[in-house]
Every structure is written in structure tokens, then in C-alpha cells.
Symmetry: C2
Subunit: 365 residues, 2 copies
């Protein structure tokens, strides 16, 4: 019988292994719990690119000194409704989680709060932190800069990250509305999938070493690895005619809010020095809905908005209109207890655990 | 000699005529000044689609009762850092200008402020209000919902507006960074231009009556006028593979902040009843930079960011990388005193003025 490509594992078992891996690297238990939870939430929501498949990068990050275990960021400036935080080079998940907790607490008292965070690291899915605001009837906002992988419009080389934007809204019926999108057309991982399948990629995804649109994912990935030029394209593709300058503009402003406003680094300077904190920055926010309008009215009207748009007539051969976050919530509901992982991810996690002498393994069902 | 397509007019003369047109329609002089200024600023910045070429729509708006002259919006809820405003069906420019003034005043005292505004009308270029924050060393934010012209991903009919996003950042050297983008790939006006030129449009711009991508601008525009289905595509095009769900998601959340959070209307309900206020909503914000970081440090680092990205290597056959707002500021610097208008726009303005018995005409140079 052929090896199954996707294996099912129990969420509690997965969390146990991942937590123990972090703890074995001197990450305090509470921080290990937070980091594992953010990673596994991505897998549950079907965002494999940001899930436990990245565990090795975190393990290497801690080993090389890029990510410093045990710290959680310190407030360097504070007003009634703003925070500036130095992440101390800690795990991005821990820094962002703790920051978002404070943002929500301050918004609880003062209606709105925003935090600009510097000197952090990769924080996983942007949506996790935005969604933390939901249970308090707040709107949550989460942005981050990231590894330079995207070319600016008319540029030849990578300069900006895929800098995601997330915003979450509570609702009366059904799933909350959660936008969580990279500002590139696709993440790098999508090119890897197409290469594995031997498929060409759409011309709005990436550029070759000259900066021109390219349909060969292998050529793009090899060029990017060797820094020969080219990279991911912003949402909208290579040209102004197709709106590429808009995706580029969004990525740019996410970096201004995350990197410049926090007093951190930006653009091409992220991940500049090996073995040092990456310098990733975040921008988080929360707004109480009742500062603007009765939350019940907001949530009822948002439900109506969602119902109306979903009930609208469909494009030929299409059966369903989705709203932001819907697919991810459905996937997470399916994967509450058990989550599907690519078999190589399971192998890698077990190899990491064994190498670190961790007393736990993943046993696919 | 052939008629020149673009005519140059003096900005002060243009402002005088436009103001007088509004005043003749019972718009108070101060409100006429604001509205004329927002419209002409669009023309100066090269955003013809939102400039005085729209004057007839405002004139008709006032005549039919969609836009109510003399009102400027009232605060219905207020906290130290939030506002909810009912625009009273007034001119969108007046309502948004007055609201942004209050937002800036409150942010001056309390670091940040956001306003959700309902029951307004078309407010012109989103960037105008975001840029109002710049001289106070604040970050300005401006969003609005708008006429349903965009199809949701997998939908057949228009449901959302081209709902723009604008954010403005002050800078040390050069032009401020101002993102001001519709969340559709292009505005409807672009299809009109291509139809006039007899050119096909890219497949990521619009859909036919079945909801499928269509390269014939005339067919799309005729379908839209007759409400036979189809419409503008979100940034990213028709499919998830090209990221269309992201542009759609952005448009959706802009409407939630502008329409739902303000207690107003949203989606397909804008412009539902002829002769009644359109129900357009806005979301405006301002954040003091010094609440997060020393403004000089912010502005110096933003200048460096801009210089670095502009100095980066260019794509083959490209000579320049732009940053958000740069093209518009350059155009506005060229058109400080004199602005180029399409000859039909000049004819139309003079016809409107003459019909209203306004004692002023545009005299192209």
C-alpha cells in the first residue's frame, strides 16, 4: 500500500510534542504553550504554511540565537491608548500574544488601543491575535512585516515581506468575519507545491531574475535561494495595469506601521544578520464596538451582511460565495480534535523530538 | 486645427466656478469651498475620475434630494477617542472634512481617534482626509464604502463598492507616503476609457453577465447599466488562484468599518432609493506619532525606507520604482496653478454654470 501523503494526528498529542520540544530548548512552559497553540491553530484552520511544518525554523531560530527563549517583550512607551514594545528578540508568538493581551486590556478601559512592536520574530498567523479581541466584542487588528520575499512594482529584487493584514469582527450568527491575507498574490510555499506537481504558475505570482513575470516555479525558487533576483509579486501582479502597485502599496504601509512606527527595522534589513534577532515588527490593535454603536446592532447587521452576500447570485459554475475567514473556521471545526499533517511534517517533528531527547512522539491515527 | 483633447485652466478660476455652482444650489459658501477644494485636489493629483468631471453628479445629487445642502453631520456618540456621526445626508466632502477635523482635534488631546460616519454621500478622493493629519505629525486613515460596482469572488452581480483605503504618513524629506487605492483592480472609468479607444481590457478587470472574466469593456458597461449581471473585479481578479478573494475581502472589511460600525447601511443597499441620501458611510482615523515614537525618528526612518526602495535595482526595461503617493504629489506639484481637464469636462462645467445662471465661466488657456 502506498504511503498516505496526509496523516491524521490528535491535537492534544501534537500540542504535547510541540510544547515539549520548546521546553527542551529552555522555553518556559507558559511560552511553549502559547507558541504551540498559535502554530497548531494554523494547521487546524488549514493554513499549513504557518503551522507546525515550521517547527524546525523555530528550533533553529532558538539554537542560533535568532529567537531568545524566556523573554516576552518590554513596554518602552505607553499612553492611555498606545503602546510601544521592544520584543527583546523573543519568540514572535509570545511577544505578540502578550502585547495583544495588553492592547485588549487597555482598550477595555479606554475604548481603543494600538501597539507598535519592534525587535520581535516571526509570529505565525496574523489572524490569531486579531481573533483574540472577538470574545470581548472588540474589533481586532494584526499586521506584521516579514522576511523580504516580495519585489516592489518595477523592482528586480526582493525588498518587502509578504506582510499580512488581519482584521476580525464579532458576529451574531455563524463564524466571525476574519480577514487574514498576505499582501503578495501567494506565499512562497505555493510555488514549492507547484514545483512538486510539475505545474506552471500564473504570471501574477512571481518574477524571474530580470524582474519579469515567470511561470516556472523552480526557476523562481532557485533564483530566490541564490539571490539572483526576482521574487514573489504583490497582490495584483507585476504591472500597474493589473493593480500590482496596490498590493505593493499595502505591503509597504504594513511595514511602515510595523517597522518604522515601532522604532524598529524595515524593508531589506529584516533577517540581515545570521544568528541575531530578525528584527520583525508587528502592529496590533483593538477597538471596542460599543464605543461606536450598540454591539448587538453591529453583530446583527454583520450577520445580515454576510447572509445577503452569501445568498447573492453565483457566477456560472460556482455554487458558493464565501466571506473572509469562513473557509478557515469550517476547516477548524472539522479539525477540532484531530488535524491532518503532511507526512513529511510528521516525520520531521518526530526527528526533532528525538534529536532533542524529548519524551514524546507523534503517532498518526 | 483639431480640437485639443486636454485643456488647461487656471485653478483659481476653476475653483471660483465650481464654488459658485454649489452656492447657486443653496450650499453655504464654506461648504462650497470645501467641496470644490476636494474635487480640484483630485484633478491636481491626476485622479480625474474623482475630480470636477463629477460635478454633474453632485449637481444632480443636490437637485434630486440625494445630497442635502447646508448640513454637515451631527455627533450621535462620543468618547475620548471615538466618534459616531450621522452625516444627515449632506455632501460627503463636507461631512468627512468636518469629521476629520474633529478626529484630529481629539487625537491631539488623546493620542488616537477614530470616527465611523453613516448617512453621508460620495466624499471624493479618500486620500484628502487622510492627508489632513500630516501637518500635525499624525498618521491619517480614511476609508469609505461606495456604489455597488464590484462582484464578490464567485458572485455574478455587483454587491460591494470599489471601497478605497487611504493611509498617510508624514516624512522628513520628499513627499509624504500616501496610499490611496480602490479595492477593485480598476475604477469603472478605466473601462470607459478603453471602450473609447476600442481596446480590450485585461481579464482581471471585470466580468460578463455570467460572472466570467471578460475582455470587452463595452459589453461589461452595457451589462452594468442594464443590471444584467457582471461588474468590476476585486484587486487580484476573478479567482482565488490569482488572489481575487483578497481584494474582495478588503472591500468587505472597508464596508464593515464604514457601513456596519457606523450603524449605517452596507453592501447592496447603498444608493437603493432614488432621490434619497445614498447612505454612504466613512471610517476616519488619526494617530499621533509621538504617542509611539519621536516623530523626528519616524520621519527620518521613513525617508530612509523610501530612499532605499527607490534606489533598489530595477526590473528589466524599467527606470523607476515609485512609493505610494509619489506620482500624485508630482502631478500636483506640476498642476499647482493650472490644471489639465478633458475638453468635455470643461464644456460640461460651463453648461452647468450657464444653466444655473452662475456668473462665471471657465476659459481654457
Amino acid at each position: 500500500m502506498a504511503q498516505k501523503e496526509w496523516l491524521e494526528v490528535r491535537v492534544d498529542e501534537l500540542k504535547n510534542v510541540v510544547k515539549k520540544v520548546f521546553i527542551s530548548l529552555n522555553v518556559p512552559e507558559e511560552h511553549a504553550e502559547i507558541t504551540a497553540d498559535v502554530l497548531i491553530e494554523a494547521d487546524k484552520r488549514g493554513i499549513d504554511s504557518h503551522g507546525v511544518g515550521r517547527l524546525k525554523r523555530y528550533v533553529d531560530g532558538i539554537k542560533t540565537g535568532m529567537m531568545i527563549p524566556g523573554v516576552e517583550g518590554i513596554i518602552v512607551k505607553e499612553t492611555a491608548n498606545t503602546l510601544t514594545i521592544d520584543g527583546q528578540g523573543g519568540l514572535g508568538q509570545v511577544v505578540a500574544y502578550k502585547a495583544m493581551k495588553k492592547v485588549i486590556e487597555k482598550a477595555e478601559k479606554n475604548n481603543v488601543c494600538f501597539a507598535a512592536i519592534r525587535n520581535s520574530n516571526h509570529y505565525g498567523i496574523a489572524g490569531y491575535y486579531a481573533m483574540m479581541a472577538l470574545e470581548r466584542d472588540m474589533i481586532g487588528i494584526s499586521l506584521t512585516n516579514s522576511t523580504p520575499l516580495m519585489v516592489p512594482t518595477f523592482g528586480r529584487n526582493v525588498f518587502l515581506g509578504t506582510n499580512p493584514i488581519s482584521i476580525a469582527f464579532p458576529i451574531e450568527k455563524g463564524w466571525p468575519v476574519v480577514l487574514d491575507m498576505a499582501t503578495s498574490t501567494v506565499p512562497q510555499g505555493k510555488l514549492e507545491v507547484y514545483r512538486r506537481m510539475g505545474k506552471k504558475i500564473p504570471l501574477c505570482w512571481a518574477t524571474d531574475e530580470f524582474g519579469n513575470p515567470c511561470d516556472d516555479p523552480g526557476r523562481v525558487l532557485d533564483n530566490m535561494a541564490a539571490r539572483r533576483g526576482g521574487g514573489l509579486l504583490p497582490l495584483g501582479g507585476a504591472d500597474e495595469e493589473t493593480g500590482g502597485h496596490k498590493g505593493y502599496g499595502l505591503s509597504f504601509v504594513v511595514d511602515v506601521l510595523s517597522g518604522v512606527l515601532s522604532g524598529g527595522i524595515f524593508g531589506i534589513h529584516l533577517y540581515e544578520e545570521k544568528g541575531k534577532p530578525s528584527g520583525v515588527g508587528h502592529f496590533l490593535g483593538a477597538m471596542r464596538i460599543d464605543a461606536f454603536i450598540e454591539p448587538d446592532v453591529f453583530k446583527r447587521n454583520l450577520s445580515r451582511f454576510v447572509e445577503e452576500i452569501k445568498a447573492a447570485e453565483k457566477r456560472e459554475n460556482c455554487t458558493r460565495i464565501y466571506v473572509p475567514g469562513e473557509k478557515e473556521y469550517e476547516k477548524a471545526a472539522e479539525q477540532k480534535e484531530k488535524v491532518k499533517l503532511y507526512y513529511k511534517v510528521v516525520e520531521e517533528i518526530n526527528a526533532i523530538a528525538s534529536e532533542l531527547g524529548v519524551d514524546a512522539t507523534l503517532n498518526p491515527l
